[in-house]
């Protein structure tokens, strides 16, 4: 197992993801249409409600986070779903690859697409709705993006695990999981507004702390002393757990025959 061979296998999924995104209309739609809808609908709402600059930034941070995270997570999930939809799954898994190659390769493309979405939405938010995107500083912005990508990787691997176990029935999670997480983590509101049970859940999700970390620069206090550190610690822990879960799911899929059935 040489580093070069590993790199080639990762590149296989990155290159395929790149081609698929270039050729498929819906991929372009995801990248441009929904982010534009999000930024304008939320931005115009903030104008209607005559929110101050800090609150506008608070709300638009949620819109930016959701669309950026979703696009990265979708790319990771699509790496498996493309094979499921085309019924070619077994041809990938009969080759000497690991799930890590799939996640890393597709994650690379997701990262690129996510950055494009973030930049487009960020520029529009700043230009049309006076969001102070750079008030927290470049370093905070980079940490925030790292947090979003980390969450997307966790969500993407969870979707892969669910598809490997439950097959087609679990496909819907590819689109639903980010929305669910966002609702719990305080998409356009502080988590203190959530019912107590939901707030308790939110405190176990790293995204809550990444959002709180970034919003703290606009004067909104975080619920914990060191939100970034908490978020990273939880996020890295979950990433390891979700990867292990994905490996176990593949094993279960190989035992139950799901992998073969998904190729028929």
């Amino acid at each position: 197992m040489s580093l070069l061979t590993e790199g080639i296998k990762i590149w296989a999924f990155a290159a395929r993801g790149g081609i698929m995104n270039r050729r498929n209309f819906f991929a372009m739609f995801e990248m441009f249409f929904w982010p534009l809808v999000a930024v304008f609908s939320v931005g115009l709402l903030t104008q209607f409600l005559r929110l101050d600059e800090a609150t506008v930034s608070f709300v638009l941070t949620g819109a930016l986070a959701m669309n950026t995270m979703q696009i990265v997570q979708l790319d990771i999930s699509y790496a498996l779903l493309y094979d499921v939809w085309s019924k070619s799954l077994k041809h990938g898994f009969v080759a000497p690859i690991r799930l890590g190659h799939i996640v890393l390769g597709s994650g690379l493309i997701g990262l690129l697409r996510g950055l494009v979405v973030f930049v487009i939405m960020g520029v529009l938010s700043v230009y049309y709705f006076d969001m102070e995107l750079l008030r927290p500083g470049w370093l905070a912005l980079i940490w925030f993006l790292i947090g979003l990508f980390l969450m997307a990787a966790i969500a993407g691997t969870l979707v892969i695990s669910l598809v490997l176990i439950f097959g087609h029935r679990a496909e819907i999670t590819a689109w639903a999981i980010t929305y669910l997480l966002m609702i719990l983590c305080g998409l356009y509101y502080p988590i203190s507004l959530l019912p107590s049970g939901a707030r308790w859940l939110a405190e176990f999700i790293p995204l809550t702390f990444f959002l709180e970390y970034f919003r703290s620069f606009y004067g909104f206090p975080a619920s914990v002393a060191h939100p970034l550190e908490w978020g990273l610690l939880l996020g890295l822990g979950y990433l390891v757990v979700s990867y292990l879960l994905m490996v176990l799911s593949l094993r279960a899929s190989l035992s139950r025959g799901t992998l073969v059935k998904l190729s028929e």
């Binding site: 070069l4 061979t5 080639i8 296998k9 590149w11 296989a12 290159a15 395929r16 081609i19 698929m20 050729r23 498929n24 493309y82 094979d83 085309s86 019924k87 070619s88 077994k90 041809h91 990938g92 898994f93 009969v94 080759a95 000497p96 690859i97 094993r251 190989l254 035992s255 139950r256 025959g257 992998l259 073969v260």
Partner: protein, 313 residues
Amino acid sequence: MELAVKAQGLDKAYRTGFWGRQVKPVLQGLNLEVPQGVIFGILGPNGVGKTTLISILATLLRPDAGEVAVLGLDVRRQAARLRERINLAGGATKFIWSLTVVENLRFYGHLYGLWGTFLATRIEELIELFELGPQRHIPFDRLSSGLKQRLALAKALINAPQLLFLDEPTGGLDPVMAQHTRDEIRRLNQLTGLTILLTTHNLREAEYLCDEVAFLQQGRILARGPIPELQARLGLGDQLILTFANDPAGLDYSRLPGLLSYQERLPVVELVVDQAELRLAPILAELQRNGNSLTKVQVRAVDLEVLYRELTH
């Protein structure tokens, strides 16, 4: 004799129902040995477990029990190493719809760690071998069934495997394309000595392609061996239907070479011989020597359907 596949006591059952409480056994204590360098056919009707067996051997499905070694490697513990040396194609193989012929081959080549000029040369060789040149930049979903099948075979050879699994390789193809695919499979085996393990429910196809076959029934191998050997074991052979112009009384049937059995329905006599193409001339000579004359001679080759019927009933 080196073995490409050795399976002993192989069991596999699927769990069905909402909680997976219903167990449907598919393979039950299956034993199988496949020598290297042959085209080996796993035969049986639909739903008998052929795809399950091939999926286990190709590391896509874990057996519940039993020992399975493919190319000397354990399918459970050494799956990663084994995957470097095998590949798979099927009758209705599908790839990602919007990738072209070259892009699909490049993608699968990358999965085997191939790249650069080596991969480019390999892709060109395969495109030439399967005459896919004019379609190299056509997306998969715009290829005809026959071209898709050729691409599937090309993909299956991208890593120069030592063992190729073909699951119903002509399933879903029209008769002309099916025959073309069979010719390609034979050519591959003859050209490269590649071991090919294929499943089929088409007995004529197995007859045409396979050096050895195994009949699968109720999760077990009923019989295994070269087709002529199985024929001899079951006393099945080609039929020679002779219509006599005169009474063949006095004909000593035991003197006829290769005779397995006979039935008199005068003036017609049906002989069952091991191999008609070998025995026809000496039998006719013997009849002539005996003073018999014939008005009609018919040869009916035994086919695998008869073999399968004999084995399963």
